[in-house]
Amino acid sequence: MIRLVLVLLTLFAFGAIKLPVEQVIFAQHRQENLRGVEFNLDLREKLGQLGFIAALSGFRAIVADGLFIQAHVAWERTEWGRVLLLFRQITTLQPRAILFWDMAAWHMAWNASVAAMNDRTQPRLALRVKAQREYFALGKDFLERGIKNNPDRPHLYETLATVYKEKYKDHEHASALFAEASALPGAQSFDRRFSAYELSYCEGREREAYDRLRQLYNEGEKERLPTLITRLKFLENKLGIPQDQRIPDRAP
């Protein structure tokens, strides 16, 4: 009996010691953007009982994979509503997985939007365009939330830039995002180039774009790709750069 009391006392005393340690670790998780999942009723509603329990018992990665495979099947059947729902759950469970945000955005902004445009059951063009724009927005939304959860990794910036560029024809935003991506560790070598290309399409920013392209050009042979040269020549003409400062024509 005495022993039992002593054991309980030790457990509580140990609990009091460990509590601050656990809190420090918890705070650090927050700080490092880990454990982005808050276990609340909302999540339970989203996942259902079974998924919720599995997620709680430390298998949220596997649960997310299971849902991802379901989403894959839903995609093959072009059930876009279901794809959307599943990806919301998946990204809630695994907010640090770039791949899932990327896939979600791709399904929405590219696949679902194209399908909406080609929807034969909807005869009115205006409504089809509206549906398409809604899917663009959904894709953009996924990427923005993905970036918020993973501010330190370049890939989602690149994808969002591509959405702006290809879907919204918004070169200014696209350029800014490529620039942000290029500043992060692990950025692709094309990020700086793409940022400058996009800028070269923006009315009123030609001078800035020219300077950046020219700087890339000066860095050497590896940056002198055909598109870069084309854009540079385009800007030289537009800005009326003096002949002696222009880049030479490519040797035939």
Partner: protein
């Protein structure tokens, strides 16, 4: 019988060779129980899932492969820890082998430490083997994806090929997985020590295992309960007492689930890794000592 006398080493209050004898014996016991079949299941799960994943892109494939492998590793080591540790002492008591052991000059603490060390060794071996299988499968898949990419991009400029290869490599193995695996091991160790503690006052194996399943779930909720208790002051006192008990008595198992995020590609700072590791070791030590304490007063 010859009258030659055996030279018996003078008795020492604590002896590593005795501890080692018990540890290796425990390991032999567990090995001969064929617990290592679990590892076979692990390999099958891995191979099965990698066949199934042929339809996905390589990023998806690697992600799922890593999730499934590390998830399976986590559950297998935890299960192994609980099932192996739950039977150690009750089995010896039931078979009365404990009488023969403790009738030798073996302190009870040494017996208990030997037992837990045996389980920890078993877990370490299992973790190593599972890691090796996992790394091998991952490496094999990575190589085949690289070969395929090189073939497809044979005409492309060097820089593009490099980018592509870099993308493949970075989505396959990231070095942060290793601290993650160590944390998985520490979580299993903690569970083993806790199971041993529970088994010192449990009457049956089933009881221990049921209690541990319960602790496992509550342990994953402990962080939520703790944060709620510490930061939310509006609830009634009964709720608060309940939350306090959960927060104080149960370990925060969620803190050991770093792999979920590591697999997703998140980097773990060394500080966080060290703190988590220290917490795990601390838990393991405390539960072992408590087990020893209860075991000392136990009527065999």
């Amino acid at each position: 019988m010859s009258d030659q006398t055996v030279v018996v080493a003078r008795h020492r209050t604590f002896s590593f060779s005795r501890l080692f004898a018990i540890t290796t014996n425990t390991l032999t016991e567990l090995t001969r129980l064929k617990v290592f079949y679990v590892l076979l299941v692990f390999a099958l799960v891995l191979i099965g899932s990698s066949i199934f994943m042929a339809q996905f892109s390589f990023q998806q494939e690697f992600q799922i492969l890593k999730d499934v492998s590390l998830g399976a590793m986590s559950i297998f080591t935890s299960l192994l820890a609980i099932v192996a540790a739950a039977r150690l002492i009750p089995q010896d008591v039931e078979d009365r082998t404990i009488y023969t052991i403790l009738a030798k000059p073996v302190p009870r603490l040494e017996y208990l430490l030997g037992k837990i060390a045996g389980v920890l060794l078993l877990l370490a071996i299992s973790t190593l083997v599972m890691s090796a299988v996992f790394l091998f499968v991952l490496y094999a898949r990575e190589q085949s994806v690289i070969q395929m990419t090189l073939r497809q991009m044979s005409g492309a400029p060097r820089e593009q090929v490099d980018d592509a290869l870099r993308a493949i490599r970075s989505s396959a193995l990231n070095i942060d997985l290793f601290p993650g695996i160590i944390i998985i091991y520490l979580k299993a160790s903690l569970l083993a020590a806790l199971t041993l503690f529970v088994s010192t006052f449990a009457t049956t194996n089933i009881f221990t295992i049921v209690v541990m399943a319960f602790i496992y779930f509550i342990g994953h909720l402990q962080a939520t309960a703790r944060e709620y208790w510490l930061h939310e002051h509006s609830s009634g006192w009964i709720t608060r007492v309940f939350l306090a008990i959960v927060a104080l008595l149960f370990p925060d198992l969620q803190a050991f689930n770093l792999v979920d995020d590591i697999v997703a590609g998140a980097a773990i700072s060394i500080a966080l890794f060290l703190k988590t590791a220290v917490l795990g070791i601390f838990y393991t030590a405390i539960y072992t000592l408590l087990a020893a304490f209860v075991f000392y007063g136990k009527e065999l």
